[in-house]
């Protein structure tokens, strides 16, 4: 291999600048050994939209000719290393570009590496990541999803820890010394960051992933039509209006079959149907028309359409009736209302476990109060960047405030 191809899978806005620093860092580190490189984003993505999965790429090669093979590309056909900076993306990558759900490990070459920042055990991540037809290595950096995006850059050293880890994964292209030198020369570099890169190099955990391991689900996909099959006049058929749920009671509209937002959300609403007062507010306020009216007048959040914004939790007047819970806590997109109807006691237990989990109900992206950034940063760095920080309480994580 005389070229190293890396992708960074990140969340739009939240991590846009983080991804850019990582890909630039890869090219500039490799340049120390005279290699050529490019850094670019997947143009069809929309990284200016909150939470939308997006990709950046860094490609380095021994010669300009080898590099040319990878230029003027929408995205590489395969990568040596996939870097994922938010483990809720383990469920896959579905940008707004309407190409279905792509497994996170889709582009990794046989024997390649998936580098993830996560506080989950490998097994937890593997429950979400799809099975792959060839073995690969999972490498872990112990960290929660960094929030280093367009408006706020959380200097939690994630970018340098990734670069330090890469020096371990691909030493033929980036030596640790070259990485440290490139970090120091960056306008955002510092001696402390160099130390963090070295620590990440030493602490990197790896584990071989067999072809039998992973989520067995086949991700949803669809055939793109041929030019003569498409309707003329840039027109597309409307989504069918749907139908009453049962015996004319309730209503379930159809949803877009080409864009399901499964991987757009970092959190999802969990509904307590027992305390619901049927006020309609979630149904009215949801910008994505997620809530279906059930025969009993309660509202079921349809996971075929939810992007996880949390407006429903904010407008719901009942404490702990709608609670946003981290997406990593869920294995499927099944109907909560159906689960509740089938076995109300079991649902109550399930609900209690989900909304009672403090780690899963704090916000992973963003800041709630002035100075929180400094607090989190200090706590992180004092323990070498491995501590789980408090995060931001959601509306229902502490108490409902109306």
């Amino acid at each position: 291999m005389s070229a190293l191809i890396c992708e960074v899978v990140y969340r739009g806005i939240f991590q846009k600048n983080l991804a850019a620093r990582i890909t630039r860092g890869i090219v500039l580190s490799s340049r120390k050994a005279g290699r050529w490189g490019i850094a670019f984003g997947r143009y069809g993505d929309s990284p200016q939209r909150n939470g939308i999965p997006a990709k950046d790429f860094a490609i380095v090669a021994d010669t300009k000719e080898e590099l040319e093979q990878n230029m003027a590309r929408y995205e590489p056909k395969h990568v040596d290393v996939t870097i994922c900076v938010d483990d809720t993306l383990a469920k896959g990558v579905e940008s707004w570009a309407w190409y279905g759900l792509q497994p996170l490990n889709r582009l990794i070459v046989p024997g390649g590496t998936l580098l993830v920042t996560s506080i989950q055990p490998v097994e937890g991540i593997l429950r979400d990541i799809h099975k792959k037809e060839s073995p690969y290595t999972m490498a872990l950096i112990r960290a929660k999803a960094s929030f280093s995006g367009l408006w706020v850059y959380k200097e939690d050293h994630t970018e340098v820890r990734i670069l330090g880890a890469l020096a371990k994964i691909a030493p033929a292209f980036l030596t640790l010394d070259a990485v440290c030198q490139a970090i120091k020369e960056s306008e955002w570099g510092s001696d402390l960051k160099v130390a963090s890169a070295r620590k990440a190099y030493e602490r990197l955990e790896t584990r071989e992933i067999k072809i039998t391991e992973g989520n067995p689900e086949v991700p949803y996909s669809f055939e793109m039509p041929k030019w003569w099959e498409m309707r003329e006049g840039v027109s597309i058929p409307a989504i069918p209006i749907g139908k009453p749920k049962e015996g004319g009671q309730g209503y379930v509209p159809e949803r877009n079959p080409y864009f399901k937002k499964f991987t757009t959300r970092t959190m999802r609403p969990v509904v307590d149907f027992e305390t619901c007062v049927k006020c309609n507010l979630c149904w009215i306020a949801c910008p994505d028309s997620v809530f279906d009216v059930m025969p009993d007048g309660t509202f079921d959040a349809n996971m075929e359409a939810c992007c996880g914004c949390g407006v429903c939790e904010a407008v719901c007047p009942v404490e702990h009736c709608i609670t946003m819970v981290n997406e990593a806590e869920f294995e499927d997109n099944a109907s909560q209302w159906e689960m509740w109807r089938k076995d109300k006691a079991a649902y109550k237990t399930w609900l209690g476990a989900k909304i009672g989990n403090k780690k899963a109900t704090v916000r992973s992206h963003g800041f709630r109060f002035r100075g929180q950034y400094e607090q989190e940063l200090k706590a992180d760095l004092d323990v070498g960047g491995v501590e789980i920080t408090a995060g931001i309480p959601g509306e229902n994580a502490e108490h409902k405030t109306i």
């Binding site: 500039l28 490019i38 670019f40 069809g44 306008e187 510092s190 030019w227």
Partner: protein, 410 residues
Amino acid sequence: MTPTATQTAPAVGEDKELLISGSEAVAEALVLADIDVVTAYPIRPYDTVMQAIAKKIANGQLVAEYIVAEGEHSQFEIVKHASMVNARVFCGSSGVGWAYAMECLVVTPPLRVPMLALVGNRALDDPGAFGVEHNDALFVRDLGWMLCWIDTSQEALDTTLIGYRVAEDRRILLPLAISADGAFLTHSQALTMVPPKSKVEKFLPRYDRGDLQLHPDNPITVAPQANEDWVIEIRRQNDEAMKRASTVIEEAYADFRRVFGRGPENPWFEEYMTEDADVILVGMGTISLPIKVGIRNMRAKGKKVGLVRLRWFRPFPTDRLVAALSRAKAIGVIDRDYSFGSPFYSGVVANEIRAAMYNAEKRPPLLSFISGLGGREVTLEDVYKATDLCFTAANSGKADAKTHWLGVRE
């Protein structure tokens, strides 16, 4: 956090290497050219340039008037007026934004406004899309704008400097649109050499409109209404200015090579492995990258293929291009544009070359291809398919009269 280290400063008088996108490379050149007035209105992918310039001004690297207009029409009007009073100006747009400025784009050549515009090539609506197509810049192909296409960040920087030198030459004074493929160039960061200002000063003189400058000391009226007694003469003047551009462009590139020690000997087009080529492919912009890779792979299998990447589309390098293409046994033109209902339903470049070749002594078969529209990646398979069809034509000595669409789902 206070940065403890910054980029190593290069020695005075030396180039420095930066990892920058095509858009950022243009912004570097604008600092070096010390522009006076820049107008902006956001549209992707051009907006990356306006962001880069804004940063330069905010960081104190460039002192210039930065005006955010309320739309592209005003954006281009404002720099037109600024240029009249002898300001070095920059603007740009993409796709339908460029189309919205059309009335102003029309008036700049007859008024002899040497504005430099970066067109980040983008598909025209509808459908709303961001990807590259060349039809936006080609709107103005008949109006007196100079047009060129680039394919690397380095060429973006160099051509911007050359562009001012050419456009502002008193013999020309015509607007120039530099086209950069959306995404593949505007949004892709590559290692780029940025020269020091001292070198640029040796190459790029100050802008001087002379007797055409609006100034109280030079009382003139610009753009009075005219009737049929005047118009055709004005058009003839524009025709002559565009003809003179050919000489000035050659001079500017020669001087650029002398001062900066890089740049092509042939300003008009890049020739890649054409010396002994049986088939020559022709294209503009970053399509050169997959074509070059494809050529190397095909040459390894004994197929003699070459590439002519057209840089300058206006003025069109008729004689040199005909001479270069006449040597081939077949020509394949890959357009990243369309011209619906045109001869053979071909793309714009294919039909231009057909016209240029009409009076040539030797006219190899010419095949026309349309590919990569709306930002679709031009693949190696597309390149191989086009080349194979060209070899069939080379062997039979006859081109089929149809236009082949590559990479469309059918």
